[in-house]
């Protein structure tokens, strides 16, 4: 939440909820226990990929990384915070995100 988000907390809270739900899938997995995912920016996902790659098969890490990037993009989390805004009420995006989260959970199971 940068300064630009003060006073727009409904959107910020919705964004937090999405981030938490995705982080929880990854971080509650035994596979990812020692390498917590800290956020859903490209940089944070890249850092997780680097750390996870030391312990986990490269193919698995690549698959999870791709899913995380897709989820972040679909959620609007990768958009800059001005031009393309996070829209918690976009039903089409919500369905796509739900499907991607299910794939993510499966990959980490």
């Amino acid at each position: 939440m940068r300064l630009k988000e003060i006073g727009r907390s409904k959107r910020f809270k919705a964004r937090l909820a999405v981030e938490r739900s995705i982080l929880d899938i990854v971080n509650s997995s035994d596979l990812s226990q020692a390498v917590p995912l800290a956020g859903l920016t490209i940089a944070a996902i890249g850092d997780w990929r680097f750390r996870a790659g030391r312990n986990l098969p490269d193919r698995l890490v690549s698959d999870i990384e791709a899913l995380l990037i897709s989820i972040s993009r679909e959620s609007g989390l990768l958009a800059d915070n001005s031009r393309a805004v996070f829209d918690p009420e976009n039903e089409a995006a919500a369905a796509a995100i739900g499907a991607l989260k299910a794939k993510l959970a499966l990959a980490l199971s």
């Binding site: 006073g7 809270k13 938490r20 982080l23 929880d24 956020g39 800059d80």
Partner: protein, 229 residues
Amino acid sequence: MSFDLPSSVVNISIFGSWVRRDNDEHSDLDVLVTVMDGSGKTPDQEIADFVRPLIGGEPSISWYGVNKLRSMFEQGDLFAWHLFLESKSVGPYPELQAIFGRPASYATAQTDIMELHGILREVSVELIKAPRNAVFEMGILYVCARNIAMSASDKLCPTPQFGRYSPFALPIEFPLTADEYDLAMSSRMAGQRGRSPPLIRVGDVEDMQERLMSWSELVLAEVSRVVAP
């Protein structure tokens, strides 16, 4: 004007730490691009290529339409004050102050602080549900503390404090040490910029959250006292 950017670009300005001159290795080089509404998308790269030689770094670009930004100035949004006080135009563009004037008074400090207090309160609940998200939740503590202080500083300090260490500038003792605050900031940086996550214990997040909750109540009470008619 003799430069290659589309005429829909109304203004390009740097803002924040680079204008305050307190930028460090953690600072973004924040660039605001204001465009005519409905003018379509100019690639970030085109803007970055234009500003990079002028400002000497890699920009982090935010885009705003003229109408949106004008509305924020008219409503006295804190971000408008941030731009009014801490922005500098780049290249041949006029200053934002010349385009939008002086923002209206910032009137939502109490509401903003209460909303941030609510987000702060949720951290302990979320930690119970997902203790392995401790790094993320620690980062939220940082965001809330910093932004509560930014909002309050408009009422409690001689000038608004938009820097990262704004909590330490308030006339109310901040309950975290600099090291604790930096730890929370590092957690946020890990989630946003891909820095290596620090080792965070759930108990530390809970402890810091409790202290920040008490502090934010004091801050809100003081802001309410100052703005009371």
